[in-house]
Amino acid sequence: MNTLVVPLLLPLLAAIFGLLLRRHVPLRKPLFLFSSVGQLAAALWIGGQTLQVGHLGLPLGGWAAPYGIILMADTLTAIMLCLSAATTLAATAYSSAEWWSEAEHPFRGPLLQFLTLGINLSFLTGDFFNLFVAFEVMLLSSYALLTLENHGGQARHNLSYVLLNIVGSALFLCAAGFAYGTWGTLNFAQLAERLAAESGSNRVFFFGLFCTGVFGLKAGIFPLYFWLPGSYPTLPIAVSGLFSGMLTKVGVYVLLRLYATILPHDLTELHHLMGWVSVATMIFGVLGAICQNTIRSVLSWHIISQIGYMTLCLGLFSEMAVTACILYITHHIIVKSSLFFIGGAAAQLNQTDDLRHMGGLWKSAPILGLFFLAQALSLAGIPPLSGFWGKYLIVVEGLAQDKIAFVVGSLVASVLTLFSMLKIWLGAFWGEQPEDRSSPFENRSQSFSFWGKAAVCGALVTVSLVIGLGMPFFLEIAQKAALDSMDQRRFIEFVFSLKGK
């Protein structure tokens, strides 16, 4: 199944050619857009295939598993690939719209493509060490993007992100060494087989706990989240949309893959621990959001709170809970990046990001207000928007398992989310327009830039509405993805049936 390399080759080639074409701006933009559209097409095609046959796999270099590295995809992988391609496309288009109003750094485009390469590889890989390499590709590009366009002493806010992630990578390496030293393999399928054989032993529990810590750090769960809210608000909006949508979700994806596909399913203590950590994550995240004063930092704290919902599904851990988790990730990535983009367009109109100095956007740009309202209500979980369904399934599953504390925690966090969204709404859209503000657009290119950004936001809002309204269809796909990713026996059989040369 050679299609599996397309989502890796396209961003790699686009990034390299983008670096070569540094001075040819008119050529670069279509190149990156083409690469993202190609990735989206490939991801959709992979999705269609996995819905039909279940698993796809490619032994790299013709070395059969478990000796070689394999790329593999099931429905869950395909969903994540689609989301990453869509977000990259949106970020690239938004970046192109910004081009009319302000210049971007020439390395931003290529670095975004390298970042996507890392993200896609971590979805596709079927090998623990290869996952480490994918993470490093992703993190190194993210470090560079974080410090590339910061001026005036902003760069220091990224120090904790960089240092913590380097330490996290060292721990990740230790986890890989531990797995290889103990079970003699790094291949997901063989690891799953050998872990299942000694299911219930302390070593398996320790490995699960250690990996939860490592990937929890990347995902931003309690108490490992404090690197996130400091660094994300310093990014340019186009990049922060991609970061907020995808980066922490890669951590959540790996946790999901780990719990569903690799670790044995009977680690109830670990699941229970995860549930409590998640409740703490969502409450602390949303409380942090309430006391912020800029759009981007409110939204950044929200990411943490939403991560709590996703990991809570892993804490409940049943087929229904994993389905809810996949639905929630799908909803969250689209809504979160579009909220960042809407916030960026609002900040362009107001010439500031600070909620205390904004106001009156509802009059000057009602369309932006509508977009924001749709996405914010979706984030808070108002039916029939996309955010409602994930939360609904979580609550139903929590009640079915008699875990009242988790249900109450998630409902409280949901109400507080609505409250903090109202804060943005009142600050930016409602209220009086500040008097010292001149006309929103100084010239034509500013206005072009604004409408370009609004078009990107509109496209994402449409996708999110379609997901919310077409829920039966998406629910079916998510259920299939959950079933496939939890079916360890079939996964192991599939990987070992792959023929090398």
Binding site: V133, A144, G152, R156, V162, L163, I166, L171, L173, F178
Partner: protein, 124 residues
């Protein structure tokens, strides 16, 4: 043979952590470098005790061979680690040229308006 490598790994982790908690950014830099090398040594440890085993070259000996895979992994990890370290050195230099110091307490002054307003300012 294994026990001294284990002790060395532990010592490297301890020294790395100690340095990483210092106030001076250059010490933090060295601490992080030590930590990532400690992790590399830990991975190398997973190939087991090499005593009495042959070098992993096919056809030279019929004895049990040393597991060569961790060495390949560590090579990759060292290359990645050196890339990250290069980035970190430049980042520390950048912070030094922004703030004129490598003392973390001076880079992050504990003033109340620092946390709320500085982040929100629009970058030029």
């Amino acid at each position: 043979m294994l026990i001294d490598v284990i002790l060395l790994t532990g010592a490297l982790f301890a020294a790395g952590l100690f340095l990483a908690f210092e106030r001076d950014l250059v010490s933090v830099l060295f601490g992080v470098a030590l930590l990532s090398n400690a992790a590399n040594l830990f991975v190398l440890l997973s190939s087991g005790n090499p005593e009495g085993r042959a070098t992993p070259v096919v056809g030279q000996s019929l004895d049990l061979m040393v597991d060569p895979l961790p060495q390949a992994l560590v090579l990759t990890a060292i290359v990645i680690g050196s890339g990250i370290l290069t980035y970190l050195i430049f980042f520390v230099y950048r912070l030094y040229s922004d703030h004129g110091t490598t003392d973390l307490k001076e880079i992050f002054p504990p003033s109340p308006e620092d946390s709320s307003s500085a982040k929100g300012e629009k970058q030029s």
